[in-house]
């Protein structure tokens, strides 16, 4: 058999599903559905996403309406979670805060995944000097504690939603790059890559069309968990006053009300609800992400 025919056969195998007709993805989905915690997490996330999208429909007050006559009111029938220091309805702001927290988490993760996947794959595949440089940059980034740099940069450039997403994206890509690189290194020497080379594909095509799709599993898992990390980070930075600025509500800046000691002690409805929201959102993401990791792990046989 000529080399070309051999390689074409190998390519056919590349695209083939296994003999019983179930693709690895379908197996993973099946496994995932059995995981109750993961499904519960997914359900909560679904509810939150809907709440974020349909916020105006489930809240009755204006988000930013200041009413100085009604400040610091405890929860009541009119205001389910009371009012804040400017008389605004806490429940409404909490629901709108979902939008900010979720979108910051998603966008910053998207940024870090894109940068991380490209640099990790390129470094892992090309090796040599390129890899060495990229890895050194990763090492440098990993020496800076996240909040420290985020605080410093936010402090210098002033807080804004865009800067926040950018900082978080830029500080998180090294982690993903490392994972992608490790995966690429293992895959590099597998047969189907050699088959692609035999077919005459250039490096770029090999990286994008063949290697990256096979690294999807850990990328998806880490992206999911990265969103959780993003939400936590946004909360932290906004709490310090260096994230989302008023009047836009985010769970983080709602929590910053409790920097005031009397609020912490007497007006629990201002800070405990947003804190619990962060906890439940991140928890759900973690349940789901963990279930995802187990489902996509080929070593775990049910």
């Amino acid at each position: 058999m000529s080399v070309i025919n051999e390689a074409t056969d190998k390519k056919a195998i590349l695209n083939k599903k296994n003999s019983s007709g179930i693709s690895p993805w379908q197996i993973a989905v099946k496994k995932l559905k059995k995981n109750k915690l993961a499904m519960f997490g997914l359900f909560i996330l679904g509810v939150l996403a809907l709440a974020a999208i349909f916020a105006p429909l489930i809240t009755s007050y204006d988000r930013d309406l200041i009413n100085m006559a009604k400040i610091y009111e405890a929860p009541s029938f009119n205001h389910w979670l009371g009012t804040d220091e400017l008389g605004r309805d806490v429940y409404t702001r909490l629901v709108y805060g979902t939008r900010i927290s979720l979108s910051v988490g998603i966008v910053s993760t998207a940024v870090s995944v894109i940068i991380g996947v490209i640099l990790g794959a390129v470094g892992g595949y090309l090796g040599g000097i390129v890899d060495a440089i990229i890895m050194r940059i990763v090492d440098i980034f990993m020496c800076f504690p996240f909040y420290l740099i985020a605080i410093v940069v936010a402090g210098i450039f002033g807080p804004s939603l865009l800067i926040l997403m950018a900082i978080m994206g830029i500080l998180s890509w090294p982690k993903i790059a490392r994972i992608v690189r490790a995966e690429v290194l293992t895959l590099k020497h597998r047969e189907f890559v050699e088959a692609s080379r035999a077919l005459g594909l250039n490096s770029r095509k090999i990286i994008f069309k063949h290697i990256i799709p096979n690294t999807m599993a850990p990328i998806i898992v880490y992206a999911t968990l990265g969103i959780a990390q993003g939400i936590l980070s946004e909360a932290g930075l906004s709490y310090l006053g260096l994230g989302v600025k008023q009047p836009i509500p985010s769970w983080g800046n709602m929590l910053s009300a409790a920097q005031n000691f009397s609020v912490l002690v007497s007006q629990w409805w201002l800070w405990i609800p947003p804190g619990i929201m962060v906890l439940f959102t991140v928890l759900s993401i973690n349940f789901f992400g963990d279930g995802l990791r187990d489902a996509l792990d080929p070593k775990i046989i049910q």
């Binding site: 504690p145 410093v152 210098i156 932290g236 260096l242 804190g275 906890l279 963990d290």
Partner: protein
């Protein structure tokens, strides 16, 4: 192994340089004139001109960098705008407190998380394992400052079990053993809050490392030798499982320092975190950038320590 360590040390050099370049860029991007803050504010105007020249104010950027690097290597990190004293002095005052907090949190989390992780793995799917898993999920998902706030509100304020904030009781003049106990009392809440998250992730990591080792062939061999199960788990499995765990512990210094910033703010703990936060609000950039550099160095060395320990513990690297 010597080759491995030498290689690691050599690789550290570009990283060190990289860190210094990042810091230097931050210094120059920050608003304000970074050079006035590099010289003692108490000197005369003519001396000031000479000083400015010697520190490179009139030089080109690369020369500026080299001169700054030289001074930094000698411990001269400039002067704090707010405190009007050398940055090095200010940092020295506060870094100890942050280290106390972080290292205690590290110790606490290791002492609790590792044994629990091991037991969780050997009793997979038991009630204990299930409870621990839920607990560690919660621990991973809660923002450290929210946890701190909850602790202050309920444990310190409502139940009056612990002091609300700070490192020492203000006004009281304790000494000796009383001072020590006062310190411990103040430490309990922040150390627990900071350590909680590290504990949760370490628990899960130990568990999964242990689980992976238990399925290895050499564990089956150990059993086939007629060794008692306790010996198989706590000698054969554990030693293998702990090697990556040790490196993770070293590398968690980065997370702990990061979390310490937030924890300190919540508990008004006088450490680097509060220092940096205040410095940013006060636009005291020399303090900010130098503190950043000091912490980054510390993390760099913890990562290096992690690699070296790994080489020591794993015979596959030690003897090759």
């Amino acid at each position: 192994m010597r080759k491995y360590i030498t290689k690691r040390l050599l690789l550290m050099i570009p990283v060190l340089l990289g860190i210094s370049i990042v810091i230097f860029s931050l210094i120059n991007i920050a608003p304000g004139d970074p050079f006035s803050s590099m010289i003692d504010p108490n000197i005369t105007a003519s001396d000031k001109q000479n000083m400015l020249e010697s520190i490179g104010y009139y030089d080109t950027l690369p020369v500026k960098y080299v001169k700054w690097l030289g001074r930094a290597a000698h411990g001269d990190l400039g002067y704090s705008i707010r405190y009007k004293e050398p940055v090095t002095d200010v940092i020295m005052r506060n870094i100890g407190n942050t280290m106390l907090l972080s290292l205690s949190a590290l110790l606490l989390s290791v002492l609790i998380a590792v044994p629990i992780g091991v037991i969780s793995a050997t009793h997979k799917y038991s009630l204990f394992d299930y409870v621990i898993t839920v607990f560690s999920f919660i621990g991973l998902s809660i923002p450290v400052f929210f946890l701190g706030m909850l602790m202050i509100k309920f444990l310190a304020f409502d139940m009056n079990l612990f002091p609300i904030s700070g490192m020492v009781t203000v006004g009281a003049d304790y000494s000796g053993i009383q001072k020590f106990f006062d310190l411990i009392q103040h430490m309990i809440l922040p150390v627990t809050a900071l350590g909680m998250i590290n504990m949760a992730s370490l628990m899960r990591y130990t568990r999964s490392s242990m689980l992976e080792v238990i399925t290895q062939d050499y564990i089956r061999t150990a059993r086939a030798k007629g060794l008692k199960e306790r010996r198989v788990i706590y000698k054969h499995a554990l030693k293998n499982a702990l090697i990556p765990v040790v490196t993770v512990i070293c590398m968690s210094m980065g997370y702990l320092l990061s979390g310490a910033l937030l924890t300190e703010t919540v508990f008004s703990w006088p450490g680097m975190g509060t220092l940096i936060y205040q410095a940013i609000l006060n636009r005291d950039y020399p303090l900010v950038t130098s503190s950043t550099m000091v912490l980054a160095m510390f993390i760099l060395f913890s990562n290096l320590l992690a690699d070296i320990l790994y080489a020591f513990l794993d015979p596959r690297i030690k003897f090759n």
